[in-house]
Amino acid sequence: MTTETTPAGPFAYAPAPESRAVVDIAPSYGLFIDGEFTESSGQDRAKTLSPATEEVLAEYTQANAEDVDRAVKAARKAFEKWSALPGAERAKYLFRIARIIQERSRELAVLETLDNGKPIRETRDADLPLVAAHFFYYAGWADKLDHAGYGRNPRPLGVAGQVIPWNFPLLMLAWKIAPALATGNTVVLKPAETTPLSALFFADICRQAGLPRGVVNIVTGDGRTGEALVSHPGVDKVAFTGSTAVGKAIARRIAGTDKRVTLELGGKGANIVFDDAPVDQAVEGIVNGIFFNQGQVCCAGSRLLVQESIQDELLDSLKRRLATLRLGDPLDKNTDIGAINSAEQLARITALADTGEAEGAERWSAPCELPSAGYWFAPTLFTGVTQAHTVARDEIFGPVLSVLSFRTPDEAVAKANNSQYGLSAGIWTEKGSRMLAVASKLRAGVVWANTFNKFDPTSPFGGYKESGFGREGGRHGLEAYLAPATPKGER
């Protein structure tokens, strides 16, 4: 069966939109500093859009260096008491936050979908449950740090300056704030310029939880705000998730200082399918690997490495599956593929896909109608891709899959590792010894075998090579926020 079905016809679905009424977005937002919303010392404002409709959702503040300074000072002031608080008390604040997130999860899911453009199915079933779980997990660590393997009575670092991306706004906030607070640090967090709203709502959650003033500060703005934050001399720890280029700039910026840094950067994950893999499951895994969140995932399985003997069969199945994906209104509960986050990102994806075509790779896109307003890109795959092609090397950060083939496991490993990145990889095979052998050879921080894009607060996440350093999640995630137990004088 090689005929392609279109989403219309037998698979036409009635609209099933999630209600927007559960979320109340203010027309304008200030900065959350020292426990309250305040105005910037400057006049710079920006707007955040719904990428699915281009509707303006709200105005927010472009924080300047003076505002950042105020936030860092508030965090510094709060640090003394917060770090001296018994761990059990810090834990209870974090448990409160986790519970309030659970209570307000539908509201936050709708908000995130509006501001980010990702399907409500994902915000509701993946983002929000993981956000609450992350706070719940790290809450439990706050009074058990002596047992974490970082020496007795490990000390927090101080003020953490945290800069997060737009692809999982609230989840990345949770990954940053939960371990920082559990270990006794205070934070100044900057959400991405295209998705500031969920972080601003989180400020309200801190208020409801009764979190002491200044422990969490939220400054909104673009890269200028981020630069002011990571460069601020009062910041002891920089945690950044985003592009490799910015990550390198941060690493240069903090060179020669006492600042500690963790970076979670780009990827070009290889998803390796062997000839004995269960094809239907592998197809689901490939789709989940590259089309989850429109492929705007640092650990996306954006390079499919398929064993030559099953390439045709697998690609037929894959195209058939892609033709059934429903692209459209992110608030519709049946939507699989939402909007691209911004016009800028859409332009980048478009340019890279065009480069793929220009360099001679064969382009195929799922037959689907794109809405007239908003930012959209149809699920796309490239075949005839070699390792030299741009689409096999550069992170596209969009719903674009590059297909390469291999004959032997050694070749698969060599091709998978042929990347500046090393964040994630996938392996599909029914043979346990082959899976373990390949997993041990892959230079990647997360290896999903016969599954893909699974996340859990107990499971460390982070990259090899230019995908960054440090781990988020699990016991490992505490290390980034604790002063190491070392001989006197050493850092």
Partner: protein, 298 residues
Amino acid sequence: MSTVEQNRLSVFKTYKLYVGGKFPRSESGRVYEVTDSKGKWLANAPLSSRKDARDAVVAARKAFGGWSGATAYNRGQILYRVAEMLEGRREQFVREVAEAEGLSKSKASAQVDAAIDRWVWYAGWTDKIAQVMGGANPVAGPFFNLSTPEPTGVVAVLAPQESSFLGLVSVIAPVIATGNTAVVIAGEKNPLPALSLGEVLATSDLPGGVVNILSGRTGEIAAPLAAHQDVNGIDLTGAGDELAKELEIAAADNLKRVLRPGSAEYTADPGTHRMTAFLETKTVWHPTGALGASGSSY
């Protein structure tokens, strides 16, 4: 007989680099004078060039697959073998350390003894670090999930400028114990114990290329290493503040793991941070499947 021995002209040693298991001179043909703490000439040491640094990286990369793939038990035995070999050449190192650092014989002996014991300490770590740093993660779902530390790759090590042997061993051993390979820049003024260590490593079953030792100007050798795209980590212990900053900036180009300099006290408990600085954590997921409700209750 004894008079003859006393008047015998001694045989000087030509100190050479240790790269890829061999003992080359610097490709540049350059040497520099090494003196003791009072300025008396001891030897001419190779003045390594950028090319020597790059050759050492090639050797270290070539050795990485085998060394990181060796069993932890095997690595432990080899590190222990280094201690055994050093014990046999203890007097030589006591003399070299005493001359290099201007120490009394007893103080130099203490340094060498501590350095030998440090190899033993790290020999024991090779097959324990994975259990201490890794483990199973109890994820909320039907998945097997395991985190394991793995070596970062090729690590450039700027050995301390003061502690010519104990400090040197204290920065090399933790890097290779976990499976990394190393390009080591010996202390600029006192490189002789480091160059002699190469001779010990060469006879300790350590595969060639796992440790490569260069002598010369720290800044001149470190700059190409910090900028090298096939170096994965750099230990800046032997760099002053200004050089350390320059190297850290260069290292950002391919996001090398950087261990910043500190005023290390090498007689203290070394802890684990010198190992963990050059370890990556890999987490592997696999579905567990389910036997269903009818699964055995035993």
